[in-house]
């Protein structure tokens, strides 16, 4: 939700690929969750790799799957760290390369995860999602009222007229592939964790319904924000588009300059966007922690007490954070 306005500002309506890709993600996740959960309820699966371990009884495949779950999770976590750094530093006009804010934020995330575990991660996910959706319903209304809507754009005077051209063949090929590749989200460990942790199938059904309808608010709205921002974030000459480091924060700053309700909504959106990135980061962190602890450390220390295993998990969270900070 932070990245899509940035992408729309840079590439125009091609950013609608994020709408298409959500359907592939929901299709894959929903279709497989029934069996993953059923197997978990019958066989006491706890770790995201337990299904594969139980089904094939092969260490080779087990650790291959572990690798294929860990690698994308670490990359995903590093991407969240970069997003926190760019967004936070941009909002508070800090040096774009300043690392200390994101280090402090990540240490706070680790601490809250230690204290609250998966419950705190899931609850904060839900709360920030509600706040974010509310903000993303209000922001287009504010933009529409103060800067106009898509119907007010003139292709002849639009600062980036190339956005009105049809995408190239290469872009269309990539678009199609991107729409399908996120079927693979079903293998991500933090999503499998949620399948196991769900209260019942009914609550999963509600979640899938929300995610299916979400693109209409959480993907199309950011594209609107990004494409409209090209028109009102212009340089002093009034025609050439500005080149902010983070178009998303530049959009919110423009709304803050309006004062009143727009300023309030922009502040909420800033906070909510940071919270969204942080909650994604802590979900991935707890998944990495469980994978490494249960699949690597626990088998080496099979008689460790539950308390000791919990501390192993905490240490892994900290190490994963440090490693991802170095990468990010």
């Amino acid at each position: 939700m932070v990245g899509i306005p940035n992408e729309a500002y840079a590439t125009g309506w091609n950013a609608l690929r994020w709408v298409s890709t959500v359907y592939g993600f929901v299709f894959g996740y929903m279709s497989t969750s029934l069996r993953i959960r059923r197997a978990g309820l019958l066989r006491n699966h706890q770790s995201p790799t337990d299904l594969i371990t139980d089904r094939y009884q092969s260490q080779v495949l087990r650790y291959t799957t572990l690798l294929l779950q860990l690698l994308p999770s670490i990359v995903y976590l590093a991407a969240q760290i970069i997003a926190i750094k760019v967004t936070f530093n941009s909002i508070f006009n800090l040096d774009p390369d300043a690392a200390y804010p994101v280090v402090i934020i990540m240490l706070c995330i680790v601490l809250f995860e230690w204290l609250g575990g998966l419950s705190s991660v899931a609850i904060t996910d839900s709360v920030q999602a509600v706040v974010m959706v509310c903000a993303f319903i209000c922001i287009p209304c504010v933009i529409f009222r103060n800067f106009g809507g898509w119907q007010d754009l003139d292709p002849e005077t639009y600062p980036k007229p190339q956005f009105y051209q049809t995408p190239t063949r290469q872009t269309q090929w990539k678009y199609w592939q991107f729409s399908l590749v996120n079927f693979a989200f079903l293998t991500l460990p933090h999503l499998i964790q949620r399948v196991y942790a769900a209260k019942d199938l009914k609550s999963m059904k509600y979640s899938f319904t929300v995610v299916t309808l979400a693109p209409w608010f959480t993907s199309i709205v950011p594209v609107f924000m990004g494409t409209m921002a090209v028109a009102f974030l212009v340089n002093a000459d009034g025609t050439t588009p500005a080149t902010p480091a983070s178009p998303f924060t530049a959009i919110l700053e423009a709304l803050m300059d309006l004062g009143g309700f727009p300023k309030g909504i922009a502040i909420v959106a800033v906070v909510a966007s940071l919270a969204a990135i942080m909650s994604t980061a802590d979900s991935i962190l707890i998944a990495i922690s469980q994978l490494v602890t249960v699949e690597i450390i626990y088998p080496l220390t099979p008689n460790a007490s539950p308390n000791l295993v919990t501390w192993y998990g905490r240490c892994v969270s900290l190490l994963a954070t440090v490693f991802s900070l170095l990468i990010g």
Partner: protein, 320 residues
Amino acid sequence: MQFPLSAQAVPTFLFALFAKDHRTDVHPWCLAIAGLTSCAYVFVVYFLHIQNNPDALPIDAGVSGFALNMAIVISLEAVRRAVFGNVATDGTTTVFPGRPQWDMPKWSRFGDKPLTPQLLWKSMEGTNEVITNPWFVVGMVFAITMMTPMVPGLEPPISADGVFAYEPSVVNGLPWWAFKIIMFCLPPTVLLLYAIYQYPNEYFTPDEKKIETEGIDPDLVELTREEMGRRTSYDEQNVLVQRRKSSIVATMEELGLTKEMDIEEEKATRRMSTPSQRKLVSLVSARRLENHNEQTDKIDEAAEEMEVDAKLAEETELTD
């Protein structure tokens, strides 16, 4: 990068979940080799070809890696079956026997029998799954594909000074192809909402009468909240679950449900619920009980009733 990498684990999960039996199952080493190879492919393609290369081919490392992954899986499995024959079994000890000991993980925490494809499919009987409908899968892929613009590229042309050769078509201010994408979001939304509507609110379980007369596979009894997550060591066997399953098996043996019944005998049994049948149902439905003490009491009560019934049966025999 995370999307292409996570796509390489998809074949493993799909075969694990949806292979029907040993004929459609795949050897774990084939899946592992394919996964590692396609993972390496993703890194090579992404860093050596796609990244920072304006002339890169329009290939997604994840989708092409997935295709490579599946091709390797199928090829390796075909070669393996040609050379060694299909050694997959019905999985009384393990699904693919004949592997070295270092490849066998500890799995007693999951149960005393392996999780076979047959068991997984049996556990899903009666539950509506749209992904098992090939037409739905085809429909979803088609609906998602139709969201791709699929138009001639770079129209209308723009001159060097930024002037259109002709005015672009717009719909409510949107380029027409962007409007088309948004409109084509509707079919997959509708399809998914239909699939969610078909999503069950709970897993199918046989009704009590069927359990009383035909019994139930103990391996298909869901764990209760109390039984799940109980581990004080890495591969500790779940004693609570074993105890409940043993009670179920014992009760079913007492009812003679493990043997083939005479049709008339079956009809007679259907007409009334005996205490033993009621015990069996209560053991199976322990999941519905929230209170652990109540569950323990039920199991103890069932055990006591079994003892009473056994004594009654003894006395009846003596009287006869």
